[in-house]
């Protein structure tokens, strides 16, 4: 059977190439669709494979089929609502009912994105080169060479053991370390600031941001994360949502939350600033705030407050501040105009308008095209 096994390795490798080639060809389409989102692990993205299936004459959506299981007429056929708990589905040809996914390295997807949009690699900020891995001798471990033995920690452990065993004679306090007490200095990897980054996605979730608007944000956020992840060894992502008040949420909430109410953009910027001050010091992190909204703000006064926050507090601390304005039926789109007027010359502030999904690649390029 040996030959077979080698052959399958070759055919699998070829399959992966085909998948990669297809993604490369169709990247513009993927850039504007939510197909890949939620398929991302730490290192790989799963790509649904029907997109590489060969075209064939196939039945469309009005192909009913026969199912099996209890339930009344009108119940969900797969038994998901209440009474029906049996099985269901089409009989006969069952190809394609399990959606196969192929894995593509995140790194590779990012490089495709870079090629497609002509994105420059990010230039080093400050002192050292971007990818700096280093460390300090501040760690401790149980094994090591004698030359690295940590005397104080070793004796402390021996002392604790002696006391715990009730053998410590206060008259004659002799503590003898045995083999198990020995502790050694170890290299504790500490990522240098140049290779850490934080993305802060801020999204307006006020009533006027509809499902499509949020989807656009979601897609943009996905590609931005993918790209920056390829540029930095350590990437943290913070999600903030705001209407009249802002709060930090987890990823899932960020993409699914539906709020309504007024919009006070400054609330998000203030929260962003607080986080930077508390947790993401500019000396340790490259900071990328992204803000998405439909451009309506509560009042001109709040917009003034935003402008001064951006100018005086945020821009000095961040690599680049990005504002993406998604067109909605209700939004006036005023906020982008206000920002553009307030910062006519500022290169560290990028604004981009997105009318619909097809505008996503252009916005991504605007955001990431400066290599900051």
């Amino acid at each position: 059977m040996g030959g077979q096994i080698y052959r399958i390795d070759r055919d699998r490798a070829r399959f992966k190439e085909v998948v990669r080639g297809r993604i490369r060809e169709d990247l513009q389409r993927y850039l504007a669709s939510s197909e890949l989102i939620g398929k991302r692990g730490d290192r790989v993205v799963s790509v649904p494979v029907p997109s590489v299936e060969l075209p064939r004459f196939r039945f469309g959506s009005n192909d009913g089929g026969v199912g099996q299981g209890p339930g009344e007429v009108g119940d969900a056929a797969d038994g998901r609502d209440g009474e029906a708990d049996g099985g269901a589905g089409g009989a006969g040809e069952q190809e394609g009912t399990h959606i196969l996914e192929a894995e593509v390295e995140l790194e590779e997807l990012a490089s495709m994105l870079g090629e497609e949009l002509g994105l420059p690699n990010i230039l080093p900020r400050g002192r050292d080169e971007l990818d700096a891995s280093g460390g300090q001798w501040s760690g401790i471990r149980g094994q090591g060479p004698q030359s690295l033995r940590h005397f104080r920690r070793t004796f402390r452990r021996a002392l604790v053991r002696t006391i715990a065993a009730g053998e410590l004679d206060l008259e004659r306090p002799v503590v003898t370390p045995i083999r198990e007490d020995h502790l050694y200095r170890a290299l504790k990897p500490k990522p240098r600031p140049e290779s850490s980054a934080v993305i802060m996605h801020m999204m307006d979730v006020s009533g006027s941001m509809g499902r499509e608007q949020k989807d656009i944000v979601r897609i943009e956020a996905f590609w931005i994360d993918t790209w920056l992840r390829s540029q930095y060894r350590n990437l943290e992502v913070v999600y903030i949502v705001h209407d009249a008040a802002a709060k930090v949420v987890d990823k899932d909430t960020f993409f699914h939350l539906r709020e309504s109410g007024g919009t006070k953009i400054s609330s998000a910027y203030e929260l962003c600033l607080d986080l930077i001050k508390e947790r993401y010091h500019p000396d340790d992190f490259n900071i990328y705030p992204f803000h998405y909204s439909d451009g309506d703000n509560w009042s001109a006064r709040d917009t003034d407050r935003c402008v001064s926050l951006v100018r005086d507090e945020l821009l000095p601390r961040v690599n680049q501040f990005c504002y993406g304005q998604v067109k909605s039926a209700y939004g006036s789109g005023q906020f982008k105009k206000d920002l553009d007027t307030a910062f006519p010359e500022e290169t560290a502030l990028v604004t981009a308008g997105v009318d619909d999904r097809s505008g996503i690649p252009r916005a991504i390029k605007a955001f990431l095209g400066q290599g900051r």
């Binding site: 055919d11 070829r14 009005n62 089929g65 589905g89 089409g90």
Partner: protein, 456 residues
């Protein structure tokens, strides 16, 4: 392999008969690789086998796949056992395999199949490899993809019909019994040697035909190696065809016998619970699909209850005729079958009706024509235009038009002349025509319009 002998003896006593069955042992890690190639050790190189491997490795399949069951229709019949399975599981798989082996040997739909396909597959792989060396991997791979995209365009009943015609000719003319074999060899030789005698151009006499792939292989202007690739794909598809026509009855027959043989003496009493667990997980219906193992075994048990001759059933039927003969109102009600109805809102299927006539009709419709849309080549235009006209026999189920458009473009590329397809959306006729790499769709006599999405 003492257990194999015991299982074989039990199967033979029960009345099953088969070609010699050869069991091969596999390591668990190699199982998916072997299965991806359909159990054959040598196939041509293709990314699609790699894809099949990934599908098997990740997907959850029906029935016995968890403990692995793979039988190859061949003389001798080849079956694989996984080394890491328990003794009970090996017994179960072996009994199941003897059921399949009996089915392969006696079912009418398998009668036309090549029983020495091992050599043929090896030969195909060698030829494709030669084409790759001569014309480059990319070119050959692209053309293989084209061929595989047209693979289902064959008459699923064609091999059976030709086989019977040859047999009755042989009976009438007293020709030697092997003549059908000779004829088929000659036919494939013609395919392989190609161009010389099958000159393109004149309108073919065999119209209308469902054997579109073969028609194109014979009548279009192709290079010899391209014609050869089409021939190989057609021959391999024909070999696998009967398995697609007999999923329910074949799995049903094998499951019926593994259950009967094991509980009839092959099982050690201590294995009973493990067996029950294994068997029931193979034959359960989970949300999303109709399990052919479950449906098949229950149909055979129902047939037994009705007093039908099971051995006759397995000899003459495919899935369609088997369901048609055995499935009655009582069965449909007891099995809680229903017709599912797709909701336009996209919220998933709902139970449409439990009316037994409707259920049976819907099941037969979905099984008919090997589960594929019926696409017939009805006309080749004369006078230098050579335009092909295909007709989709619409049975209420629409085609995916964007994908159909892609296929038309593929056919046009092969045929080097325009191709049109007559189909329907609901009750409205649609004509798709591919010319110059562009596909247009129009309602019957209305003005043409470009297809949305990637079609044009």
């Amino acid at each position: 392999m003492r257990e194999a002998q015991r299982a074989e003896a039990a199967a033979t006593d029960a009345g099953l008969s088969f070609f010699e069955v050869v069991f091969e042992m596999l390591d668990a890690a190699d199982v998916n690789a072997v299965a991806a190639y359909g159990g054959f050790p040598t196939r041509y190189p293709s990314w699609r086998f790699g894809m099949e491997y990934e599908r098997l490795a990740k997907g959850h399949e029906w029935g016995l796949s968890k403990i692995y069951e793979l039988v190859v229709n061949h003389d001798p019949t080849i079956a694989y056992l996984v080394r890491s399975n328990s003794l009970m599981e090996q017994k179960l798989v072996m009994a199941h395999v003897f059921g399949h082996a009996d089915f392969f040997r006696h079912n009418a739909w398998f009668a036309p199949t090549e029983r020495h396909m091992l050599d043929r597959f090896e030969e195909h792989a060698r030829r494709i490899q030669e084409h790759v060396e001569r014309h480059g991997q990319d070119r050959v791979e692209r053309f293989l993809d084209v061929a595989l995209s047209l693979e289902p365009l064959m008459d699923p009943h064609g091999p059976q019909r030709r086989y019977r015609a040859a047999q009755s000719r042989a009976a009438r003319g007293g020709a030697p019994a092997g003549s059908s074999q000779v004829e088929r060899s000659r036919a494939s030789l013609r395919l392989v040697m190609g161009g010389a005698e099958a000159a393109p151009g004149p309108v073919a006499p065999e119209l209308p035909t469902f054997d579109l792939l073969t028609f194109i292989a014979e009548h279009s202007e192709l290079e010899d190696w391209e014609r050869d690739v089409l021939g190989i794909v057609a021959a391999e598809a024909e070999y696998f065809l009967p398995q697609r026509l007999t999923k329910i009855i074949n799995e049903g027959w094998a499951s019926f016998w593994h259950s009967r043989l094991l509980t009839g003496g092959l099982l050690d009493p201590s294995e009973l619970v493990e067996f029950a667990d294994c068997h029931s997980s193979a034959t359960q219906a989970a949300p999303g699909q109709l399990n052919p193992y479950k449906l098949g075994i229950e149909l055979f048990r129902h047939a037994e209850h009705l007093g039908l001759d099971l051995f006759r059933l397995r000899a003459v039927h495919n899935d369609v005729s088997f369901v048609d003969e055995v499935m009655d109102e009582e069965f449909i009600q007891r099995s809680a079958l229903f017709v599912s109805e797709q909701h336009r809102s996209g919220e998933g299927a709902r139970i449409g009706t439990r009316d037994h006539v409707a259920v049976k009709q819907e099941l037969l419709r979905s099984l008919a024509w090997a589960g594929q849309p019926r696409i017939e080549l009805v006309d080749v235009a004369g006078g230098g235009s050579r335009e092909l006209t295909l007709r989709h026999h619409h049975d209420g189920r629409d085609l995916k038009l964007d994908e159909a458009a892609q296929v038309l473009k593929t056919i046009e590329g092969l045929w080097r002349a325009p191709v049109q397809l007559i189909t329907a959306e609901g009750d409205d006729e649609r004509r798709l025509s591919a010319a110059g790499g562009v596909v247009q769709v129009r309602a019957d006599e209305g003005p043409p319009s470009a297809l949305p999405s990637k079609a044009s």
